[in-house]
């Protein structure tokens, strides 16, 4: 990542931006309180001046007297400017050129904080790839493939940096060298989940991480569904790869429909609990995504024309017994007992053939089952 720090130094902040960031980072600040403040005073600078002067009243939002006092004591624009410069954080105000949500969707954040080395990724077409955290190996593979496909077409992949589908989509796009945007529910200085520290670094170097909350805000459960509206708003098209019936991905899809974005869903087996949400979306009218290039159609693009090389790696042809097991799986997950009973092979024959399939990469183990790849 040579040369990257230069782009960080480029970030200069107007007084208004620093004031906005200061307001965002006040304790107990919420998107609604921020919106009311900015609306009432007309600009972040004026609002901050009122906060510091202790001139807030009941008409400037629902913050109580003790919260207003805490705001007055904690507001420190000078420290915030130093912090923004040290971190290279950008402040995007609603209504300015840099603000990435072009259409006035309801509830869009008044201020977005963003960090990363590639702000240009937001000028490209953007597709959100979202899904469940408890994804199946098939779902993860789909998300990874889709991320790579979109990256190859110059499309930026937007997702939420969560485990499961989100991380797989980011991974796929990053591996293909494409642009990525991660929208987090926490503050920009918090890494959640912790095991994604490396993924956070990669997203920073190949794209941007965006947050509407101030520094230091941790992973509180209520923040994630609210965050999902930003993912929907930032994207031109939302693809749901795998979703359970009651998951955050369906919330994202609902926001996307409210905002007039196209929603595509990857269909799955009715036996797969992780596909129940996507299948329900399709039943509700979402477009079933079978060919990745359909995403480009939804974006109004045509494929870049470079014929895609098949992504399936070359594998040795399975022996007849191994093939019998693959047939017995039928593209669905299974367990050895089921395979033995469906294929009629003895347990030992199943074991030997499974060992062969595992080694050659035809199958993989996850969630206590055998998955054909």
């Amino acid at each position: 990542m040579t040369g990257e720090p230069i782009s960080l130094r480029d970030v200069a902040h107007s007084t208004n931006e620093v004031a906005a960031a200061t307001l965002v980072c006040l304790p107990k600040m919420t998107p609604t309180r921020l919106r009311v403040l900015l609306h009432h005073f007309g600009s972040a600078e004026l609002a901050l001046r009122a906060v510091v002067a202790g001139q807030l009243g009941p008409e400037t939002g629902d913050a109580g007297a003790d919260v207003r006092r805490a705001w007055r004591d904690r507001a420190d624009p000078d420290a915030m400017r130093r912090c923004l410069e040290a971190r290279g954080t950008r402040v995007w105000l609603e209504g300015t050129d840099a603000y990435p949500i072009i259409d006035a969707v309801p509830d869009r954040p008044a201020v977005l904080l963003a960090e990363g080395h590639q702000p240009d990724v937001l000028t490209a077409p953007r597709v959100a790839v979202v899904g469940t955290r408890t994804a199946t190996p098939h779902g993860l593979a789909d998300a990874r493939e889709l991320g790579a496909f979109l990256a190859g077409e110059g499309v930026t992949v937007v997702s939420g940096l969560a485990i499961g589908i989100d991380a797989a989509a980011h991974d796929g796009a990053i591996a293909a060298g494409g642009g990525v945007v991660g929208v987090v529910a926490t503050g920009l200085d918090v890494t959640y989940p912790r095991r994604h520290a490396i993924l956070y670094d990669r997203v920073r170097s190949l794209g941007m991480i965006v947050a509407e909350r101030g520094f230091g805000v941790g992973p509180l459960p209520g923040l994630f569904p609210i965050r999902n509206r930003i993912i929907a708003a930032l994207a031109d098209v939302v693809v749901v790869v795998e979703a359970t019936l009651r998951g955050g991905a369906r919330i994202t899809a609902q926001f996307a429909l409210d905002y007039g974005r196209s929603v595509l869903a990857v269909p799955g087996s009715r036996r797969n609990a992780a596909a129940a949400g996507t299948n329900a979306l399709i039943a509700d009218g979402a477009h079933p995504l079978v060919e990745w290039s359909d995403v480009l159609v939804a974006l109004g693009m045509t494929a870049a024309g470079t014929p895609r090389i098949s992504t399936s790696p070359s594998r040795p042809t399975p022996t007849p017994k191994a093939q019998a097991l693959l047939d017995a799986l039928g593209g669905e997950p299974g367990n050895p007992d089921q395979l033995a009973s469906r294929s009629g092979l003895s347990p030992q024959e199943v074991a030997v053939a499974l060992a062969e399939l595992d080694r050659a990469g035809w199958t993989e183990r996850a969630q206590g089952a055998i998955w054909p790849c």
């Binding site: 007992d337 074991a351 499974l354 206590g368 089952a369």
Partner: protein
């Protein structure tokens, strides 16, 4: 005016010979017990005096001192009562001197002079036999157990008066009571279990056989309702009977734990403690006199832990020593006791707290990873066979019956016994890594398969050794003289990574 009587007390699951010395001296009437007695032993005074008086035997109105030697060992329980009572009579010259030459006395006294059973009779009699006693007087209830010790004449004491007459030669010794007909098995189940009740699950059944035959620890993972527990409980029906030595050890342990038996225990024990069991209940210990825990009760049998993930992590990690060394050492000032704990661990667990696993899971990420952390990697590593069990197909036929599986398991066990004759080990799972090459050799193609398996699964040295032992057991179950590459591949497949 001194008499000494040989008796014994329990030290863990072993007997310790105690010499009860009774000294009667002129002086103010009194009674003192010295030599580390526990409260039950100190209270023997009241029981002994009442029992003697109930049996119309005079209590000497003098100063009585009872010494329990060796003085450094803590004596527990009421099993020394009878020895004290006999010693008092000897010392006060109401019994002929020499009446107890070479005779050891065990038993607890009731206030009416009846003799009650003592826990651990087998271990106690074995101890006094080792100390050179040729005759032992035991409570009627313990006669069957005492008779298991070779080279000892067992005499039965029913009450103090009768015993006195017999010792004086005025009456013949009573016959030992006929062993009570075993009133059914100790099976806590209403219906007899049989493997034929389990449909499908061909792999899991084979894994169960492997555990039963080779002494391999087994972990079954899967959602609730697929038959994990049903299957695991049926391992009790396919393990072979205990050998004579094993049966003696098991009987000794269970007798010492105070579980009344009917002579020799022939079936391997099956213990399934609930997951609220404390560390002391599971491993042994407790304050004061260390007691054997479930791992010792499962000695030479099966320890079944259902819902492994619900056990306290401390208890599970404490299992690691007995799993590795097949014994538990419990240290208490001033002694360290060794309890045997050679068991096969069979455990079932759900993939996550809600049990559904995979995409159907409704647990939070935190709850899921906490649940996973409970089963530490070192513990999981000790399971030779780890298998996830999925739902059986609805069309699966009922499985093989326990009787025919047991024939196969017994054959595999005797193959192992022949192979491991002259070594300290009995099962494939016990063979240490250093002796694998010598005792469980692999042909070239199997060796090759093991290398492939090691590579593909990134097995550690210990993991590889475990695959090798399981492969040998699979071959034994097929009555195959050699381990084939297929057995190795299968053994590898039976060692799944736990999600």
């Amino acid at each position: 005016m001194l008499a000494s009587v040989t008796s014994a007390t329990l030290l863990g699951v072993d007997g310790q010979v105690v010499t009860v010395e009774v000294h009667i001296a002129s002086g103010l009437p009194g009674y003192h017990v010295v030599g580390l007695p526990d409260p039950a032993v100190r209270e023997s005074r009241e029981r002994v005096r009442a029992a003697l008086q109930s049996s119309d035997i005079a209590w000497p109105p003098t100063r009585i001192t009872v010494n329990l030697a060796p003085g450094g060992v803590r004596k527990t329980g009421a099993g020394l009562d009878l020895a004290v009572a006999v010693g008092v009579q000897l010392a006060s010259d109401t019994l002929p001197a020499g009446a107890l030459e070479g005779i050891a006395v065990l038993g607890e006294l009731g206030l009416d002079g009846t003799v009650r059973r003592v826990p651990g009779a087998l271990a106690l009699v074995a101890a006094v036999a080792r100390a050179g006693c040729t005759t032992v007087v035991v409570p009627a209830h313990d006669a069957a157990e005492a008779a298991l010790v070779p080279g000892v004449t067992v005499r039965v004491a029913r009450d103090l008066g009768e015993l006195r007459a017999c010792l004086k030669g005025e009456a013949p010794w009573p016959d030992p009571p006929a062993p009570p007909a075993p009133d059914g098995d100790d099976e806590p189940f209403d219906e007899p279990l049989d493997l034929a009740d389990v449909r499908g699950l061909a792999w899991a059944r084979r894994a169960l056989e492997v555990a039963a035959a080779g002494g391999h620890h087994l972990l079954l993972t899967g959602p609730p309702g697929v038959g994990k527990t049903m299957l695991a409980r049926r391992i009790a029906t396919i393990i072979p009977d205990l050998t004579d030595t094993e049966a003696l050890e098991v009987t000794r342990v269970h007798s010492a734990a105070g579980r009344p038996g009917h002579g020799l225990i022939r079936r391997p024990p099956f213990r399934s403690p609930h997951h609220t069991a404390s560390v002391a209940a599971l491993i042994g210990g407790g304050s004061g006199r260390p007691n054997p825990g479930e791992v010792t009760s499962a000695h030479h049998g099966i320890l079944f832990l259902d819902e492994l993930g619900e056990f306290p992590p401390r208890a599970l990690d404490a299992l690691r020593q007995p799993l590795e060394e097949r014994a538990v050492w419990i240290a208490r000032q001033p002694i360290t006791l060794c309890f045997p704990a050679d068991f096969v661990l069979v455990a079932c667990t759900n993939p996550c707290p809600c049990g559904l696993g995979g995409p159907a899971c409704v647990c939070g990420e935190g709850a899921r990873s906490r649940y996973r952390r409970r089963l530490s990697a070192p513990l999981l590593d000790r399971f030779d066979v780890r298998l996830s069990v999925g739902s059986p197909e609805p069309t699966d036929p009922p499985g093989e019956s326990s009787a025919s599986v047991r024939v196969r398991v017994e054959a595999a066990v005797s193959r192992q016994r022949a192979r491991l004759a002259g070594t300290p080990w009995r099962r494939n799972a016990h063979v240490p890594a250093g002796a694998l090459e010598r005792l469980l050799p692999l042909a070239a193609d199997a060796q090759n398969a093991l290398l492939v398996e090691t590579e593909a699964r990134r097995l550690t040295g210990r993991g590889g050794a475990r695959v090798r032992r399981v492969a040998r057991t699979l071959a034994d179950l097929e009555d195959s003289p050699d381990v084939t590459a297929g057995h190795v591949a299968w053994a590898g497949q039976l060692r799944e990574d736990v999600p």
